[in-house]
């Protein structure tokens, strides 16, 4: 139980009313069509998807698990949060390709990239899996909120699980994705204020940055200030091999789709952006704000550590950041703080409700049950599905204690054995639906064996996660590579259609040559006219040249992960008043400006060119979703 006065109740209620009412008001826009209810009519400027990426990925359990790892591991624990850095490269590669595909969901993308029975099996499997996955996630974050309510107010757990979700359902049912992004923006404002305030209050209460670092040295804990405090190459709880594997998964994963569990959520934000350029900047900025958030959290948790260094139980230590807010803020601001906790919870619940409903409505109902459904009918189905998902999530939440181990296994499955095929499907023309299906099937069997069965019979030692990852990748390849080469490539008609529309990166030579031969795209080698360059960077683009992948793209791709790292650790050092932090953070800001200067003219040209053809492409995609093959 904590201090929570009438002034706090006043502020919490006022913020809750604004967040729910403000989002609800957009119902007038959502009821117009399917694309309004699920994509806000593909009309959003980059800062709305960006705030939605940030708000959706800040849930009630996020400050708990991040506090847990920083309390235990010090600043090296920040690398556990670096999996979200897939957006560094994803913004410049996967986001551009996905936005151009015009697919509502990753499941729909499967049926644009592949064709025939294999593609439909993939689409149905992925849609069904995602409907359940979103229900799981709703139950997971719902039960976390239930525990916070129990801690703060002594409410029974079911209150925090059910009541905030019902409040969220008010605007998610009415206003669909319009309500989700507008709610996310308002909730993002409140959350940012709260995160800044509580973190700074924590640092001040501990005596300031100098006192924190001094105390750590005094306690003999200065290793906690070193993000590279490895316990060895392959042994201990923080081996260098784990770190390298994490970097590969996170950074290289940006070339694929589905390499991070977050991809399925972000794909909706990417597709809702107004142009290709807005999609790229939205995803990049959303990822950057998330890392900046982690820097503020990390420093304030170090402050919590020096004030209470002897907590052994993770269940207690992971509440550290919440305690900074509830125990150190003045009356009134505690109410704002609880409003912010509700805000980050509502934004996560609303996004997953709408996304689960999207997979059912677009990929199952419209595709297989009623291809001729009217726009109004699809909005109605979207609303009903939202309600069913909500009720399903309550059941999952109540049995979450029993299924947590299964859930973590399921999540791990989706990120390990399927990671490489998720990249290959984007960058390699020859990879086909049967290869990708084989990868999923093999993955289910192989990870079952490697993670549980073989160690259970002592036929294989229990391997650490980072070794499992490489083993699962190699074993999976033994299945999906033969399956790919023993079956035919996707039909050239489909590949050319997909290629012209999305212009993917990677090994697409045969398809490119076929598209040129059919006169669908121009061969860029014969470009005429002058090209202006500045310092070797091209400043003016013809629409056709901008669609090729060039030096400018690679500069952005290579600089981007470095900028992310600099933003995160530079800011941590600045907040701890370490001088080298100012240099690192400054370099990261300059790097951001360089990326913008290099890539912006090109993204503008790509966006203008694509917008000119988007109406025609949309007609093709919609005709295909009604089984009228274009």
């Amino acid at each position: 139980m904590i201090r929570f006065g009438s002034i706090d109740i006043f502020w919490t209620s006022l913020f809750l009313l604004l967040m729910v009412g403000g989002a609800f008001w957009f119902y007038r826009l959502a009821r117009r069509s399917e694309s309004d209810f699920f994509l806000a009519g593909r009309g959003l400027p980059w800062w709305l998807p960006a705030s939605s990426v940030f708000s959706t990925h800040t849930a009630t359990d996020t400050p708990m698990w991040i506090t847990g790892v920083i309390y235990k591991d010090g600043l090296r624990g920040l690398w556990y949060t670096f999996f979200s850095a897939w957006t560094a490269i994803g913004a410049f590669v996967a986001a551009r390709i996905f936005r151009r595909s015009l697919a509502y969901t990753q499941a729909e993308w499967q049926s644009l990239r592949f064709s025939g029975l294999g593609a439909e099996l993939l689409r149905g499997w992925m849609a069904g899996w995602q409907v359940f996955m979103n229900m799981f996630i709703l139950g997971w974050v719902g039960i976390a909120m239930g525990k916070v309510g129990e801690l703060v107010f002594g409410w029974p757990v079911w209150v925090g699980l059910i009541v905030p979700s019902l409040i969220t359902a008010i605007y998610t049912l009415a206003a669909g994705y319009w309500g989700v992004v507008m709610g996310d923006f308002l909730q993002g404002i409140v959350a940012v204020f709260a995160i800044l305030l509580v973190s700074l209050v924590g640092v001040v209460a501990a005596g300031g940055p100098g006192e924190i670092t001094g105390k750590l040295v005094e306690l003999g804990q200065e290793w906690r200030l070193d993000p590279f405090a490895f316990t060895g190459v392959s042994d201990g709880d923080f081996p260098m091999l784990w770190w390298l594997t994490m970097l590969v998964i996170a950074v290289v994963g940006g070339f694929g789709m589905g390499t991070s569990i977050d991809w399925y959520v972000e794909a909706q934000r990417i597709q809702s952006a107004k142009t290709v350029r807005d999609a790229t900047y939205g995803l990049w900025a959303g990822g950057a704000i998330t890392l900046i958030r982690n820097a503020f959290w990390a420093v304030s948790i170090l402050a919590f550590f020096v004030m209470l260094p002897d907590i052994k139980d993770t269940a207690v230590s992971e509440l550290g950041w919440f305690r900074l807010g509830f125990e150190l803020l003045p009356m009134g601001l505690i109410g704002v703080f609880f409003g912010a906790i509700l805000a980050i919870h509502l934004s996560t619940i609303s996004s997953h409700l709408n996304l689960g409903a999207l997979y059912f409505t677009r990929d199952l109902y419209q595709r297989y049950l009623n291809p001729e459904a009217s726009e109004q009918k699809l909005v109605v189905v979207g609303r009903w599905t939202t309600a069913v998902l909500l009720i399903g999530s309550f059941f999952y939440g109540m049995m979450m204690e029993e299924i947590t181990q299964w859930l973590i296994f399921a999540l791990w499955l989706m990120s390990a054995g399927i990671w490489l095929p998720n990249i290959l499907q984007v960058v390699w023309w020859r990879f086909n639906a049967w290869g990708y299906l084989a990868a999923w099937m093999a993955n289910l069997g192989v990870s079952w064996l490697v993670v549980w069965i073989l160690p259970g019979f002592n036929l294989l030692p229990e391997l650490p996660d980072h070794i499992q990852f490489w083993l699962l990748m190699a074993l999976g390849a033994c299945f999906f590579l033969p399956a790919t080469f023993l079956t035919k490539p996707e039909p050239m008609d489909r590949l050319v259609q997909y290629y012209v529309m999305t212009r993917p990166l990677g090994w697409w030579g045969p398809v490119h040559r076929e598209a040129v031969r059919r006169g669908l795209i121009e061969e860029t080698k014969k470009e005429s006219g002058p090209v202006t360059r500045s310092m070797g960077i091209r400043r003016s683009w013809t629409p056709e040249a901008a669609q090729e992948w060039t030096r400018e793209d690679w500069i952005a791709i290579l600089l981007s992960p470095l900028v992310y790292t600099g933003l995160l650790f530079g800011l941590v050092q600045v907040l701890l008043m370490q001088m080298e932090g100012f240099a690192l953070l400054g370099a990261a800001v300059i790097g951001t400006l360089i990326i913008y200067w290099v890539i912006d003219p090109k993204l503008k040209a790509v966006s203008e060119e694509f917008e000119a053809g988007q109406a025609r492409f949309l007609d093709e995609v919609e005709a295909r979703s009604r089984w009228e093959e274009a």
Partner: protein
């Protein structure tokens, strides 16, 4: 409890944060409902 220790922080600052959020709500609605 963590071993560590006015009107502005209890009323003025929350009101400012609320004001920014309210202004953002109105601005968003006016921009997108045209």
């Amino acid at each position: 409890m963590i071993p560590a220790e006015g009107f502005f922080w209890s009323w003025i600052l929350p009101a400012l944060i609320f004001g920014v959020s309210l202004w953002a709500t109105v601005a968003l609605y006016r921009r997108f409902s045209r």
